[in-house]
Amino acid sequence: MARLEINSVSKAFGAARPADGLSLAVEPGEIVAVFGPSGSGKTVLLRMIAGMFEPDDGDILVGGRSVVGAPPERRGIGMAFQNFALFPHMTARDNIASGLRARAGGGDVAGRVAAISRLLKIEHVLGHAPRELSNGQKQRTALARALIGNPDVLLLDDPLRNVDAKLRYEMRLELPNLLRRGTAAVLYVTQDYREAMAIADRIAVLIDGRLAQVATPADIYAQPASVAIARLFGDPTINLAEVSPVAEHGMLLATVAGARMRLGAADGAAPAGACWLGVRPEDLAVSSASTDDAIPARILAITPMHEKAVLLLRLADGTEWLAALPPDAPQGAADDAVFVRFAPDAAMLFDRATGLRIGASHRLKAA
């Protein structure tokens, strides 16, 4: 049982700062997904914990003890890599057992290899060399190798990246249970927000070397701390419009492409100045009936996606929005004139200058 603590860790490579004062704690048995756009510093963070490079500043603690400066083999860390990193000249069995054999008192090596490979369904390929395995089997072997030593900290660097879609989906269902078997603190790097939401207890959103938000998947999706985070979660991406909301009769109102839209109750003063209005595509309703609380638009194209109909709409002022409609909803056809609505509580407001969400800061769960 060991907690992983990262205390204001920074790292610079020349002008790039892939880690800029990162602080994060992962409890034993917890899975935290590190999610962010490519180049945001996810992999650098993992590699500092593993000991492939040392932080310029800050401390990394496993079970209360600093591991900075310790060689990788003494940090109590298991790791799975995006490119699998199997030892090509060893069989799958020897790959998995390599860690047990290295440590004194590995105990019943054969028994433990058998147990972990049964769990990962690779018993039938243990005698094969890595080049004889499919990508899915390679990744399962790599996971077995990372899991077998019951490490204090488990680092997974985008492990499903090179696995085909069907296997990725299967692993997405299986992984949380597998990872929670032990008491390891798990950090899981991914570039796929769905994978992060499916697997993690909490998600740490990393943007430009800083943690932008750390919260449960449902909280991040419903209450993103900033417009940048809102854009990272959701497919299709959240719709944005520049608005200047005003409070009237206890309601917040804003003009979107010529239509007066209600944005929920105004608790306190209306936000000052320009804002981003964000509405998720699945929160939009599209119909051919006109009312005064609907935005006039034209359908540019219909692109079915994930059992939904995704409509590319051009609003009256030229802005493009996407609407994701349930499969049984009437869709219309390309070039139709339609009207777009959304419920007031589906609207999110972000400060135009800082990008931060308005009225949500007190709900943020910082790590």
Binding site: P37, D164, A165, K166, Y169, R172, L173, P176, N177, Y193, R194, M197, A198, I199, P217, A218, Y221, A222, R231, L232, F233, G234, D235, P236, T237, R280, P281, E282, L300, A301, I302, T303, P304, M305, H306, E307, V310, L311, L312, E320, L322, A324, P326, P327, A334
Partner: protein, 371 residues
């Protein structure tokens, strides 16, 4: 009229000392003018070979290709009037983004003003206006892919060939660009064929999807048709995210038709009256079938199938619930959140009318209703 016609196309790769590889077998396909077609399959299914034969980078081993009434399969690529976007982008490194896009237009000796207008227009569409004067090595992979797309779409061609056109695009841009490109192709009546391994992309962009496997065209139909009326077990399990739940079932005669039992845990009554004559005959003669039901068609919280929850994942706009029923895994997808923790017992409702039934050889005996 058919714009592109593939007749009996075969492609065999022979190399010394190795078994010949039959990459494409007896492929017949006709694409109408203005249609967007996706070639969909996993790696090695023959989709890229097919595209490369149409483009002229590979010879056909047998068969013929006609484009707009011209036989093109013996012409060099440059004379086929096709534009192509390559998977590896293949941008010209010494030219700027603007020069890359304008390259073919300049060779076609269009007036300079016209070239500028068209480049600017396509650049706006794929959002690369601000990098028009950069060189390919200075821009990101996603941007290079957008430039490569622009370079193909800006040309005047009878046919546009796109090889994995959107695989590297930034996720935030993907949905919008799909919509814009689809709208552009439709507006100009451009005929396009694109290769992809991503069914989300295929269903988003294409009017019709050609599903390939093992060099053989499995089914060529609209996304709706592929999902509702898959030609065989392969198409049924390949198309759909997450994949269709598949179960082995035993067939028994009942008073009103047939009863399909899956172990001792599930049984489904199929009314004989709802079956056409051919299907009823086949079903009567098949003791063992595979039944399939889409995860989106399973209702969680009601019904008589009791499952132990293995995982329950909320993805922001939908829940994926995996349940174990007597050692068989069932996956249900619902639009709302589901209150079920791993280990709990919940009910799944699987309605007989939503079942697809397949025979032992993978052919479809009955499709789900309402499709």
């Amino acid at each position: 009229m058919d714009m592109l016609e593939l007749r009996g196309i075969d492609k065999v790769y022979r190399s010394r000392g190795k078994e010949p590889v039959h990459a494409v077998r007896a492929l017949d396909m006709a694409v109408e003018k203005g249609e967007i077609v996706a070639l969909l399959g996993s790696s090695g299914c023959g989709k890229t070979s097919t595209l490369r034969m149409i483009a002229g980078f590979e010879d056909v081993s047998a068969g013929s290709i006609a484009l707009g009434g011209r036989r093109i399969h013996e012409l060099p690529p440059a004379r086929r009037k096709v534009a192509m976007a390559f998977e590896g982008y293949s941008l010209y490194p010494p030219l700027t983004v603007r020069e890359n896009i304008a390259f073919a237009l300049k060779s076609a000796q269009l007036p300079r003003a016209e070239v500028t207008r068209r480049v600017d227009e396509i650049a706006r569409l794929v959002e690369i206006e601000d990098i028009l004067d950069s060189y390919p090595r200075a821009i990101s992979g996603g941007q290079q892919q957008r430039v490569s797309l622009a370079r193909a779409l800006v040309r005047d061609a009878d046919l546009y060939l796109l090889d994995e056109p959107m695989g590297q695009l930034e996720p935030q841009l993907r949905a919008v660009l799909r919509g814009r490109i689809k709208s552009l192709l439709a507006e100009r009546g451009m005929t396009a064929i694109f290769v992809t391994h991503d069914q989300t992309e295929a269903s988003a962009l294409a009017d019709r999807i050609a599903v390939m496997e093992g060099g053989v065209l499995q089914q060529f139909a609209s996304e709706k048709e592929l999902k509702g009326r898959p030609a065989n077990l392969f198409v049924a399990s390949f198309i759909g995210e997450p994949p269709m739940n598949l179960l082995d079932a035993e067939v028994m005669r009942s008073d009103s038709g047939f009863r399909l039992s899956v172990g001792t845990d599930m049984r489904f009554d199929i009314a004989g009256a709802g079956l056409d004559v051919e299907a009823a005959k086949t079903l009567a003669a098949t003791p063992q079938v595979r039944i399939g039901i889409r995860p989106q068609k399973i209702v969680v919280g009601t019904g008589d199938v009791r499952v132990k929850v293995v995982s329950n994942q909320w993805l922001g706009d939908q829940s994926h619930v995996a349940g174990d029923c007597g050692g068989r895994m069932l996956i249900a997808v619902t639009p709302g959140r589901v209150a079920a923790r791993p280990g709990e017992i919940v009910s799944f409702a699987l309605e007989p009318r939503h079942l697809h039934i397949f025979g032992g050889d993978g052919t479809c005996i009955r499709h789900a209703e309402g499709a």
